[in-house]
């Protein structure tokens, strides 16, 4: 007997936590796809370690979201029993892993964004969220440094590596808009002191991101009007396939453990 899907409530706090928690979870899953396939062994280890950090952050956030949601779910149920439309991560996180250039560029974009967000969340009025952020901020700093190192090395590397970085930038850039989208959920979070309106991180993110691009000999692309809607549950065609892989075991064998 396969497992029924669950739904979470509409409370802005829960939605705010899930937007962040699902970002960590979905990106962790994507990065994990490199395990055993990275170009060098050291990167295999690095990507797996970063995915593990993200997964741990996701677990803490989902546990907290489930508690606030008050339906008696736990983090595993939120991860494995929600359907695609109930996932609230920006589409950027679910895009296929692409080549190594795309992977490191996305890691740089996301870690820079997460670092800014975690720093602000350290001052959250929600003590649990502040504690999660206090731990995660240190991990994100290592992720950012590592990713920036690769952006520089590949962007300012060979003709081939530079061309791949430019291609990755072209693919990724329009999806970055969603990291700075703003709506009623952000407004409620900011008003309660739960966390910042994501839009307030845009200028700092852009300055940091484009500074490293410039060092890597890459131009900051022109603004795009495209606005993806993953934060409202409207995803690309890629998330459903990812969840099918990720959720299969728990759906087929409910509550199964190692």
């Amino acid at each position: 007997m396969s497992q029924q899907s669950i739904q979470v409530g509409e409370s802005p706090q829960v939605q705010y936590l899930l937007r962040l928690g699902d970002s960590c979870l979905v990106l962790a899953q994507r990065i994990c796809e490199w395990s055993g396939h990275a170009p060098i062994l050291e990167e295999d280890l690095a990507l797996s370690n970063m995915a593990l950090d993200l997964l741990g952050q996701a677990r803490a956030l989902l546990t907290h979201a489930a508690r606030l949601d008050g339906q008696g779910h736990d983090e595993d149920q939120l991860a494995f029993l929600r359907d695609e439309r109930q996932y609230l991560n920006p589409v950027l996180m679910e895009l296929p892993r692409g080549d190594f250039a795309f992977t490191v560029l996305r890691n740089f974009a996301v870690s820079t964004w997460l670092l800014l967000l975690w720093r602000r969340l350290e001052g959250s009025s929600d003590a649990e969220l502040a504690a999660i952020a206090g731990k995660a901020v240190k991990e994100a700093a290592y992720h950012q440094q590592h990713a920036a190192d690769w952006v520089l090395r590949l962007g300012d590397g060979t003709e081939e590596s530079s061309a791949r970085m430019r291609a990755a930038l072209g693919t990724l850039w329009p999806y970055c808009n969603e990291l700075f989208d703003s709506d009623a959920v952000d407004a409620a979070a900011a008003a309660q002191g739960l966390g910042p309106d994501w839009a307030s991180l845009k200028d700092e993110w852009r300055a940091q991101f484009c500074e490293v691009l410039a060092d890597a000999g890459l131009d900051c692309p022109k603004d795009s009007a495209y606005q993806s809607q993953g934060r409202r549950g409207i995803h690309s065609e890629h998330l459903g396939h990812m969840l099918a892989t990720m959720q299969y075991l728990q759906r087929a064998y409910p509550g199964g453990v190692w």
């Binding site: 690095a46 593990l52 677990r59 206090g134 731990k135 901020v137 700093a141 290592y142 920036a148 940091q208």
Partner: protein, 180 residues
């Protein structure tokens, strides 16, 4: 308030439990104990009159896969003390600065370069993200031969808490417990 007569044995129980805790090795780096690693934050008697114990632990990394194993190890080691409740406390976040001097010495003897001060990563500090070029990194001494002619191979090693280095003098690879 407990009377002195009641407090005496209670203190003895706690002291005995601390003694047990101090012997539990970290599952991933067994040369160092959980206490030396600085992840046992507190030990107290349960307030429900059952004479059980509450152990307060803090995780090293958000996704450290040893967390559950550590909890099981603590529970098993304290089995003779009645009920043992384990509380995970995230704040304040664990830092490698909490690794004891003795722990650092043991890491070094084991072949893992101990962490330097973590203040460079102090949360909330305005941190420029200009790349730290490899040449500008603080020189790390090889735990085997002591040479400072070493280089970083990877910022991430066999576990989340370690980086990979190699010594250019004795040519041996070694791990570095990252400051965090």
């Amino acid at each position: 308030m407990t009377s002195p007569a009641e407090r005496g044995p209670a203190c003895g129980r706690l002291e005995a439990a601390w003694e047990v805790l101090r012997q539990i090795p970290d599952p991933e780096v067994p040369v160092i104990s959980l206490c030396e690693l600085g992840i046992v934050r507190d030990l107290r008697l349960l307030e429900d009159g059952t004479e059980g114990l509450e152990v307060v632990l803090t995780p090293t990394y958000s996704g450290c896969p040893a967390t559950e194993l550590i909890q099981d190890d603590v529970r098993a080691a304290l089995a003779g003390f009645g009920e043992v409740r384990i509380t995970m406390q995230r704040a304040p976040a664990w830092t490698t600065d909490w690794i004891s001097e003795e722990g650092r010495r043991k890491l070094k003897d084991y072949g893992i370069a101990p962490p330097g001060p973590a203040n460079a990563l102090a949360s909330g500090a305005a941190q420029p993200i200009r790349l730290v070029h490899r040449a500008a990194l603080t020189k790390l001494a090889c735990p085997r031969c002591g040479s400072e002619q070493t280089e970083k191979l990877s910022a991430f090693g066999s576990t989340a808490c370690k980086a990979l280095y190699r010594c250019l003098s004795c040519r041996e690879p070694f791990e570095h417990f990252k400051p965090i």
